[in-house]
């Protein structure tokens, strides 16, 4: 059952038995509310060890035991994503991943879904800029039944032509649906403005109408053959298993996977920064809100400034008390929420701040975005700094509750080749960030005179007042330019 009519504060958003009625201190004096209770020492998170094994074909296996719930999570990660899409074939990595479970081994798309659903399992295939993955979550008692299907899906997809046509039409239709939806258009328009049509990061993961129409079955087969190799893949297993118990099962299903030709990947090149601040308006007539995105080219995940940037972004737009949210939501009421983030990939992804704001406050909102993006360059108040560091560092344990969360964090370690003690040292690395380091990071990475600004909204209402702000040149982008090749 789904609860009726739920609205959350934020997005990102009988018969009872009295078992005990022990301590009744009702008569005691009232508590002291003049100041918040002091906090004791923060607890530390003790993660189970990562047990590193290898299958006979060299495929690395990381195992983490978590015995709380009788479930197992098995992720096969392939180090190939849309960053590896060849020029002219933007979207092939994503479509390849999406097609993996549409026919594999001896099973059809429907047979795979029936078998997996019947086991109460969850099998997903996905791809982002940097990697692709097949992920299985299953009651541990049924792991043995589900693994062979997962292995077929990852290693032996058949890419049936009729299923390819179905997915192609589904994706083309989704692009059509995005045309009137400001919140779907805004991220695509921003990527297009910042990176252009030629750079891989300038086009959505799924590609464009043109590339989607052109993909052949052979394109997918070729991408899978070239990039899905045991030499550039690994298995992550988390849950109610033991390493010794699970290894024979993995060996049976994945141990005979042989490399054909070694795959090579070339990193997406770093994109240049915008030469100057420029506003791009995408017209969606009658929109009740304008979707704003402001930003520039950010950093790669390998940046040495990772920890100062986490703290910086928390202060600017990465938490509820962040400056952008406090200003645009709490102080002005222009939006339901404003935020920012550094999208870190193998190559520098965007830094972007954004919000959906009411149409008649679009220009005012832009003014406030610029105020905060300039303001973050000034020295940071000690209390604000301390709050942000604690929020990031002390909130870490909550990210490790489920086996899917644990496996996702292990994927991050593997894809970005982070040190083995990364999570053990995470808290001290955050706590070591100084005000000077945050200020230096802001000066380096937030450049208010070189911002790409995208506004998706009702042009005839918003343009005159945006123009009057004199933030920079204004240009217009059609929806075809946002979504096209």
């Amino acid at each position: 059952m789904m609860a009726r009519g739920e609205m959350a504060r934020r997005s990102l958003l009988p018969l009872t038995v009295v078992v005990a009625c022990v301590v009744s201190l009702a008569a005691q004096q009232r508590p002291d509310r003049s100041k918040p209770p002091a906090l004791g020492p923060a607890p530390s998170l003790h993660l189970p060890a990562i047990q590193k094994r290898t299958l006979s074909n060299g495929l690395p296996v990381w195992v983490m035991e978590a015995h709380k719930v009788p479930l197992a999570q098995v992720n096969l990660v392939v180090m190939a994503g849309s960053g590896d899409d060849p020029s002219g074939k933007f979207g092939v990595a994503n479509l390849t991943a999406a097609m993996l479970d549409e026919g594999a081994g001896s099973r059809s798309s429907l047979e795979i879904a029936d078998a997996i659903d019947y086991l109460g399992a969850d099998l997903t295939t996905a791809s982002n800029s940097d990697a692709s993955a097949v992920r299985l979550n299953v009651p541990v008692a049924r792991l043995r039944d589900a693994l062979p299907i997962m292995a077929d899906v990852a290693l032996r997809p058949t890419f049936p032509q009729q299923d390819l046509e179905r997915l192609r039409q589904e994706r083309l239709t989704a692009l059509l649906q995005a045309r009137n939806d400001p919140s779907a258009l805004a991220p695509l328009a921003f990527a297009r403005v910042l990176y252009g049509t030629m750079h891989r990061y300038g086009t959505g993961q799924q590609g464009t109408e043109t590339t989607l129409k052109a993909f052949t079955r052979q394109d997918l087969v070729a991408f899978h053959d070239a990039m899905y190799q045991p030499s550039s893949a690994m298995l992550i297993v988390v849950g109610d298993i033991t390493a010794d118990g699970v290894m024979p099962l993995l060996e049976q299903q994945f141990g005979s996977w042989k490399a054909t030709t070694p795959s090579r990947r070339t990193l997406v090149p770093r994109a240049p920064q915008p030469p100057q601040t420029e506003i791009t308006i995408v017209d969606v007539p009658m929109a009740e809100q304008s979707q704003i995105r402001v930003g520039l080219v950010g950093v790669a995940r390998s940046t040495p400034d990772y920890f100062p940037l986490q703290v910086l972004n928390t202060i600017l737009g990465g938490s509820f008390t962040s400056r952008l949210n406090q200003n645009l939501r709490e102080q002005h009421g222009y939006t339901y929420g404003a935020s920012s983030r550094f999208d870190m990939r193998l190559s520098p992804g965007p830094f972007l701040a954004g919000a959906g704001v009411q149409t008649d406050k679009t220009a005012e909102s832009l003014t406030e975005f610029f105020k905060e993006l300039n303001g973050i360059l000034a020295p940071i108040d000690a209390q604000e700094l301390s709050r942000a560091k604690n929020y990031v560092a002390l909130g870490l344990p909550a990210e490790f509750e489920t086996i899917a969360d644990l496996a996702a964090h292990l994927e991050e370690l593997a894809i970005y080749t982070l040190p083995g003690d990364y999570f053990q040292t995470y808290v001290s690395n955050i706590q070591a960030v100084t005000a000077a380091a945050v200020q230096k990071a802001a000066a380096t990475y937030i450049q208010p005179k070189k911002l790409a600004v995208v506004v998706v909204g009702d042009r005839k209402v918003i343009e005159p007042r945006i123009r009057a702000l004199n933030l920079g040149p204004i240009r217009f982008m059609t929806v075809d330019q946002v979504l096209g090749s």
């Binding site: 018969l15 509310r33 719930v69 109610d240 009421g333």
Partner: protein, 454 residues
């Protein structure tokens, strides 16, 4: 649709062995969430549950008031009020609620439905007392800090929430329209929890004062604390911070008018953000946990859960007349709503899609589903119970589910009984639910047409 939750028993999970072949459907049968329940002298019900696997604590409070307690002219008020609960109280200055929790590494949120308002605070376990201090201060002393300015500030935020979720989202307004068509005009489920723009404008500071006094008393709330806690110490802390909050007057239960569809209601509306036509079919169905509620969850799965479900396979997979189809039972305390939604592919007709839906509904009414269709649905539901045992906090963790079960009138640890509602279903139970609750001649049919494109 099910979003249920389960608990994990450390004891019954035998580590996987490479030797023992697993039986095809051998999931541990027992779900158990031990808890301690007590009631303060002021009427506050408290439920404690210990789970020390991660050093965090979830503090989850439900006030038993939602948009169903509103009246026309002030729709959206329960949710607007929820926003005001974060704006400070007598001893917590404006902004400090969030500042203090973030400085402790915590997160918080709140949500409002037709039937209840909940607040969640998730903190590292050393900050439990801070969370209780904040939660009790706004329960006891919210009005000392309330002002018309604060109401105005959150009024603007909520109006933008409405724009983002409804006006500026394709098909957003259809969801509001559907409830208006389905429920009688004076039934509280006929208006949206977010409220109308006019009513949000009309909400006043005086309304806030009256609403708080009427509904935000300890005797109209239940508090769950789950996670890395010591039970005795936590119980003592609850007494320390909540005992002094005075009891309020008893709250009268909502007495809705009868809601019964007697005919087919049809409407067509246009949406300037939609590109494709969409059809909604909706029925009034049994309330949460009443006979038929669980069977209708399984009906939704047989119809539209997964690629092999009847409607997905015919509409999306085989004929590709539809871009998507979904079916779900939205359960409420006063009644539920079963909805089927399908979006046409470009050039396809929603009339033809509706014909297919009707054929499949007829088939389900005429003969029970195959046993495998029901088993497939129930196995997925069962696995989701276990997935729900992994988290203590947030809107979907154990703390919230304990509160949900308690509020619905079962014991807080109703997990196994809830699962049994599904595992005991036979194919003919599923058929009976379709016959009894989803008739072709008593329902709402709403069609959304895109505005002509330039």
């Amino acid at each position: 649709m099910r979003r249920t939750i389960i608990l994990a028993l450390v004891l019954l999970a035998a580590p996987l062995s490479a030797q023992a072949p697993a039986p095809p459907t051998a999931v541990p049968a027992k779900l158990e969430v031990p808890y301690r329940l007590f009631t303060l002298a002021n009427g506050l019900t408290v439920i404690l549950h210990q789970d020390r696997s991660v050093p965090i604590v979830a503090v989850n409070i439900w006030y038993h008031v939602g948009s169903a307690n509103e009246h026309r002219g002030r729709t959206g008020f329960a949710h607007l009020f929820e926003h005001l609960m974060f704006e400070g109280s007598k001893n917590v200055k404006e902004g400090e609620f969030d500042n203090l929790l973030e400085a402790a590494g915590g997160n918080n949120n709140g949500s409002t439905t037709n039937d209840r308002t909940n607040y969640v605070i998730d903190v590292p376990s050393n900050a439990l007392e801070l969370a209780l201090y904040l939660e009790s201060d706004r329960m006891g002393y919210l009005l000392d800090a309330m002002s018309p300015e604060r109401v105005n500030g959150q009024r603007d935020v909520v109006k933008n929430e409405r724009r983002q979720s409804y006006e500026n989202r394709p098909y957003g307004m259809a969801e509001i329209e559907l409830d208006q068509l389905l429920w009688p005009e004076n039934h509280p489920y006929s208006w949206p929890t977010i409220g109308s723009m006019e009513d949000l404008t009309a909400a006043s500071y005086e309304d806030v004062v009256a609403f708080f006094k009427k509904y935000y008393a300890p005797n109209n709330a239940s508090l769950v604390i789950a996670g890395d806690i010591d039970l005795d110490r936590t119980q003592a802390l609850v007494h320390k911070w909540f005992d002094e909050v005075p009891r309020g007057k008893p709250v009268e239960p909502v007495a809705p008018p009868a809601a019964l569809l007697t005919t087919v209601t049809r409407k067509t509306m246009t949406d300037d953000q939609a590109r494709l036509p969409r059809v909604y079919l909706a029925w009034i169905t049994p309330r949460m946990f009443a006979p038929g509620d669980a069977a209708l969850d399984v009906v939704s799965s047989v119809l539209a859960g997964g690629k092999n479900s009847r409607l997905y396979k015919r509409l999306v997979y085989d004929t590709q007349m539809a871009q998507d189809v979904s079916a779900f039972q939205q359960s409420g305390a006063l009644g539920s709503e079963f909805t089927i939604v399908a979006t046409a592919r470009p050039g396809k007709s929603v009339t033809d899609i509706q014909k297919v839906i009707d054929e499949e509904m007829d088939r389900l009414r005429k003969e029970p589903p195959q046993p495998r269709e029901v088993e497939r649905a129930v196995n997925q539901i069962e696995a989701n119970f276990y997935r729900g045992m992994e988290r203590v906090g947030g809107f979907e963790g154990k703390a919230n589910q304990l509160n949900a079960y308690y509020t619905a009138g079962g014991g807080p640890d109703y997990f196994a009984e809830d699962l049994a509602r599904y595992t005991s279903l036979s194919p003919s139970d599923v058929q009976a639910a379709a016959i009894g609750w989803l008739p072709a001649d008593r329902r709402v049919e709403l069609i959304v047409e895109p505005e002509a494109q330039k």
